[in-house]
Symmetry: C2
Subunit: 207 residues, 2 copies
DNA sequence: TTGTGCATGTGAACGCAATCACAAGTTCGG
DNA sequence: CCGAACTTGTGATTGCGTTCACATGCACAA
């Protein structure tokens, strides 16, 4: 199933809906209206209905949405039905935190491998995952890992990205504060943590 | 100086430009064209020119932009001229990494206080910052800290946000994967790390 | 069976941001 | 001084995503 003409912003909101719905389901609920869901996840109800409508009819008029059906639907759209493995590069403070981050599981991700270039770290374990030498990145191809997470200093990020691409990675989540160049077929998402904070004063300091 | 009618997307890109320009400046460069800068930070040249043009004329036709002038200009727009203190709540894996994160300094931020509700952590130090009891959050008012960073489990995030607002915080950077309700005068930015990863399969698994 | 209340789905209108195309200004060589 | 090569700044255009308004459909009570 190909989803053409779907706004990127809609795709960005789907994980937000998904986690809200899973939480509601865990609370024992099995049905919800767009406006209740909207209040819960912080999105307007018409936005939610519009987003879902791109993919067909998920709800029942006059009734609402069946939570399980929505969850399954979103997972299928986002292709989250199979567990996917990811590899981390850079086992510093941030990298270690990511390796231990419990939030990935919800969406079916497993960070199963970790790499670093620091000899002191190589061989050690974090959460039962052994840190390997970054020069062994090629192993990802064999292990069929298609997602890479970069948490190295800016100066090394591009080099690591090149190695990941060479190792057959299709998507890169980049925590280094820099632009990374990759072939068009590879998707890069950069999370610039400090960049978020940098916008705060603009919005909060009225002058 | 008030900046009305500036696209939010432009504001979002300013920190990207800023960090690129600072890097170029450290490399000894003092002038650059929009297209060279664009190649460096991953933005189209016309987009850069358009963004700058909202704030007046920063460059010289036929010549380019003076890097120092741009840096000063962006810092003024984003109100990054004064060092600003921030407080972290939640000294778990992610929180500790944020506390040690070196990237905030570039934009003039200092994470100067840390809080947790775990008795075992209270009193300990991370990077010379002592972890305080979360019940003492009110001290932020006295210390004039206006930015809060939330890195606690989802179940506690709203509660912590309430406490931060009560303590006079004007901006909240939220790493908990949930929607947070605050008074309109307070700005919340949520970074849902797993949410980024959750979109990867959509873009990389073609089928 | 009919009426009332509620909630979805969607075409249309609107608004914001990206993109384009080019006029205006600078530099430099000769 | 002139022309060629650059580069900025910006009005106009296009495209995308949000917002709106309401037709459509279900549930339930009487």
């Amino acid at each position: 199933m190909k989803h053409k003409g779907i706004p990127d912003e809609t795709i960005r909101r789907l994980p937000v809906y998904l986690r809200g719905l899973i939480f509601l389901q865990e609370g024992g609920q099995d049905r919800i209206s767009s406006s209740k869901l909207g209040d819960f996840v912080g999105v307007q109800s018409w936005q939610i209905r519009k987003d879902f409508s791109y993919f067909g009819e998920f709800g029942v008029r006059g009734v609402g949405y069946e939570i399980k059906k929505l969850i399954d639907g979103i997972k299928e759209i986002l292709k989250l039905n199979k567990v996917q493995n990811a590899a981390l590069v850079g086992a510093g403070n941030l990298g270690s935190a990511i390796l231990s981050y419990p939030g990935f599981e919800l969406y079916g991700f497993n960070v199963t491998m970790a790499f670093d270039n620091n000899a002191k770290k190589i061989g050690k374990k974090i959460k039962s995952i052994e840190i390997m030498d970054v020069s062994k990145l090629d192993i990802l191809k064999k292990k069929n890992v298609r997602l890479g997470i970069i948490a190295v200093p800016r100066s090394e990020a591009q080099e690591i990205a090149n190695a990941l691409v060479k190792a057959g990675v299709k998507g890169i989540l980049n925590f280094s504060p820099c632009y990374i160049m990759v072939p068009k077929k590879v998707k890069v998402m950069t999370i610039d943590i400090a960049g978020y904070l940098a916008r705060m004063p603009y919005y909060t300091l009225n002058g």
